[in-house]
């Protein structure tokens, strides 16, 4: 039994104790609520004879299931089962001969599982075959912690993922540039060593040997100055060399990462983008790559430098004077720990500030973009009020941040000064008693400052490392996403699709628990004009999305020319299906480039012909730059109707065998709409056209019409047949006719 979750052995034991033959159980599902809304574990499973419902509490660690209630329902008594979706929960209701009652209640997110479970139970009862092909590739739960994978298309459990493995993987990307990496690390190490020995020459040697009478270098000022300069110079040169190499190497890595991510994004299905804000996706591509960039150009090299520095300096300092080293080191550690805790809270406040800034900017954008509406309703004062509130939140958090910093730093400085004073005192006495030289004391102060910087860096590196790993994980999430909507392993290639489309029991939901289409079946013959009508939100556009395989059905199949669309190659589909949707999207580029998007090798003659056929040529000519006019974000703003005409021109140029028009003429005046319809008429020959329209007049000549209501196929037939039927289509038609009459008479 594989579906729909992994039944713990404690539960199967409990079922076995109640006489259930666990070996013959077919499917299982788990509900999580009782009637009172308390979280319980309700295990439901069935075999050929009965449905078993075991309610209680999982205690996986102790391998014991605490049973609260148990019920068996003879499968023969079950006439039907259905899911009643409520607002945030759902319930499974069983219908027997004389009664209907609830048998399970669960969080809405489990609705899909329960739908599949109840379908299989009913099929088992009716001895119908069950197809589990779609379920075979589903592994929804982490085998380690048994939590569901948060991203179903990526079988990675953040709970169990070893951060080290992400780091190693990231390092692997870095290691594509192995030679440069080794060279940089060698330079860093050498540079660090030179930096470490500098204080010895500039303090100890200078004061104790050159400037002290009797010293081995007494009087040799020039020599020591040249030596110090030479050492510093070498250190700087080494730093410069590795800096240059690093500066060349790391942008290459981030460039490669960004291209890799963007390329992967292009292969992901539409559903991936509709579930995420486009803005946050773009932020990932940019911000996360930048985080990783800074980690490798800044954090990793300086982490190595810091570790080498700390080890080297501690050794040197302890060699010079143990007690002073201990006091200095203690002082440094105290300030580092205090600052680390302080920064942790500051980071949270910065995050809040960042959110406050985003909220304020979003409001500004909202208000300024909607100025027409603001002024039309005289809501300027209200907008000012809204902005003031949001801005106040920003002010509050900024003030809090500032106050904390102002209070913290004098305190930290005080500890640091106290430590320095103690060292000075110990050092002075040590010099007086002959245990220490002046030069050594100066050297110790220099080393303290170097070591403090290194310890502080390492102490704060943890957070930057975490941010980098999170950034890398988010990027790998995209790179690793194995989209559920993907091409078949051996897709069927068809240069030309005739346009025979069959929908068989198609259901679909964008969001779990909220079905949009329910069990729709119809067919469209090739060369037909097929109209889909219905109220707003009925599911018409969704049908189009499914037929063009921008989404996959939740249930049921769609075939084109007898081939399931899941078997057809994406290339065959995209080549043969042209869509003109109500939301037109034009890319940044010239008008000509936008029209040619469907067929990049089209000639200008073809482009102009398509533009004329779409009645776009005239308005294009009105722009001074004609077909070279730049449109899209930052370019010329076109009206809705103009955009739609360009979109139609694009579709006309493509010459697809299946043309889908989703409210293609919605944004046009009646005159232009008529012209477009003529253009479409000219395209009809040998083409299957599927059109959605609110205005029924535009579909009058359709060969067949389907009326969709609440996601179901309500009626189907020609215009005349549906008028005669006097059903939904007739009502819609009557409404629209009366409205037009009213306007004309008015």
């Amino acid at each position: 039994m594989n579906y729909f979750y992994s039944m713990p052995s404690s539960v199967s034991d409990a079922l076995h104790e109640r006489g259930v033959d666990v070996e013959h159980l077919l499917y299982c599902v788990k509900a999580d609520l009782n009637k009172e809304g308390h979280y319980v574990d309700v295990h439901m499973t069935f075999d050929q004879g009965a449905l078993y419902i075991l309610q209680g509490y999982d205690a996986v660690a102790q391998d014991y299931f605490q049973v609260v209630d148990y019920e068996e329902i003879d499968i023969k008594n079950i006439e039907d089962l259905y899911i009643d979706r409520q607002i945030h929960t759902a319930r499974l209701i069983v219908r027997e001969e004389n009664r209907e009652y609830e048998i399970a209640r669960f969080s809405l997110g489990k609705s899909e599982q329960f739908e599949q479970f109840k379908d299989r139970l009913l099929k088992t009862k009716n001895n119908e075959p069950i197809d589990d092909t779609d379920l075979k590739n589903r592994e929804e739960f982490c085998p380690k912690c048994h939590n569901r994978y948060p991203n179903r298309e990526r079988k990675v459990c953040p709970n169990c993922l070893d951060k080290g493995s992400t780091f190693k993987r990231l390092l692997g990307m870095y290691m594509r540039y192995k030679k440069e990496f080794i060279f940089v690390m060698a330079m860093i190490t050498a540079s660090t060593l030179f930096n470490l020995i500098t204080p010895y020459f500039s303090a100890q040697l200078l004061y104790d040997e050159v400037l002290t009478k009797g010293g081995s270098w007494y009087g040799k000022v020039t020599a020591i100055v040249l030596l110090i300069a030479g050492i510093r110079f070498i250190g700087i040169v080494l730093s410069a060399i590795y800096g240059i190499v690093l500066a060349r190497m790391t942008p290459k890595i981030t460039r490669d990462i960004k291209v890799e991510i963007f390329s992967k994004l292009q292969t992901l299905p539409v559903g991936f983008f509709s579930s995420k804000q486009t803005g946050s996706l773009m932020a990932r591509v940019d911000q996360d790559a930048t985080n990783i960039y800074w980690f490798f150009v800044d954090v990793v090299p300086y982490a190595i430098v810091s570790i080498v520095t700390i080890i080297g300096l501690l050794g040197l300092m302890l060699f010079i004077n143990v007690w002073i080293t201990i006091v200095m080191f203690t002082g440094v550690m105290i300030t580092v720990v205090i600052l680390k805790r302080f920064r942790k809270k500051q980071r949270k406040l910065h995050r809040r500030k960042h959110h406050a800034v985003r909220a304020t900017n979003a409001l500004i954008s909202d208000s300024l973009n909607g100025q027409r509406v603001v002024k039309a309703f005289a809501k300027e004062d209200q907008e000012i009020g809204r902005y003031t509130i949001k801005n106040q939140e920003f002010y509050d958090v900024s003030l809090h941040l500032g106050e904390r910093s102002a209070n913290m730093f004098p305190y930290v400085r005080m500890i640091s000064r106290a430590s320095d004073t103690a060292v000075l005192a110990i050092g002075a006495f040590s010099i007086l008693y002959g245990n220490l030289t002046l030069g050594s004391l100066y050297a110790l102060f220099s080393y303290t400052s170097m070591i403090q910087n290194s310890i502080t860096f390492l102490a704060n590196m943890g957070d930057r490392w975490a941010r980098c790993i999170d950034a890398a994980s988010r990027m790998f999430e995209i790179l690793d996403t194995f989209p559920s909507l993907r091409e078949a392993a051996e897709p069927i290639q068809r240069d030309v699709l005739e346009g025979d489309i069959v929908l068989d029991n198609v259901s679909f939901e964008y969001e779990v628990g909220r079905p949009i289409l329910k069990h729709i079946s119809f067919n469209i013959e090739k060369g037909q004009m097929f109209g889909i009508v219905g109220k707003t939100g009925a599911g018409k556009s969704t049908l189009i999305h499914l037929m063009s395989r921008l989404y996959d059905t939740t249930e049921g199949t769609i075939t084109i020319d007898g081939v399931p669309i899941k078997q057809l190659s994406f290339e065959s589909l995209r080549k043969n299906i042209g869509i003109v949707s109500q939301e037109t999207y034009l890319f940044i580029g010239s008008i000509a480039e936008n029209i040619k998007y469907a067929k990049p090798d089209a000639t200008m003659e073809e482009v102009i012909f398509a533009a004329k056929a779409a009645y776009a040529h005239d308005f294009i000519m009105k722009h001074a730059e004609g077909y070279d006019t730049i449109i899209g974000s930052g370019g010329v703003n076109l009206s809705g109707g103009e955009k739609q005409r360009l979109s139609i021109a694009r579709a006309i140029l493509q010459k697809p065998s299946i043309l889908i028009l989703d409210e293609a003429t919605a944004a046009m005046d009646t005159q232009t709409e008529r012209k477009i319809q003529e253009a479409i008429e000219n395209l009809k020959e040998g083409r299957t056209i599927i059109a959605i329209a609110h205005r029924l007049s535009t579909l009058r000549d359709a060969d067949k019409l389907a009326v969709i209501e609440n996601g179901e196929l309500f009626e189907m037939g020609t215009h005349e047949e549906l008028i005669e039927k006097q059903g939904k289509y007739y009502e819609l038609h009557k409404l629209q006719t009366e409205a037009i009459k009213f306007i004309e008479e008015g």
Partner: protein
Amino acid sequence: MFIDATKVKFETLENGFLKLTLEDKVYDKVTLTRLLPYSQEEAYIAVIQNQEEIGIIKDLSELESKEYDQVIKHLNYKYYIPEITKINSVKEKMGFLYINLDTKGGEKEICIADFVSNIRLIKENLLSITDVEGNKYRMSNIQKLDKDSRQKIDVFL
């Protein structure tokens, strides 16, 4: 459009739906929908049968006490959403938030993606959280959260 609340009789069926008798007309298996679920929980309640609206009850206080009790029970059941009482821990892993919280229905650990969209203050103090499975959780008044819980969640608001 508006139903006279004094003429309404409800009967709760075994399957949890309601049977409505309104001026001698019987409507089997109706359900109720709050038109203003956040701002007016006991006013403007639509009565629906087979996705068709029968009418709207303007104010539940106009109902007889027995009908009122049934209606409230039905609405509370339909609109049930786990009410958060405490936030025990928040861990961020690979861009997902794992939150262990106490609700009135018991303890729960949830996973949240894209917290900017899925942890939101809908009204001034009304917090709504949506997990990766699409399940929702609510804190009716975030001011009533204890200090610790508040600190843990504030960062994400």
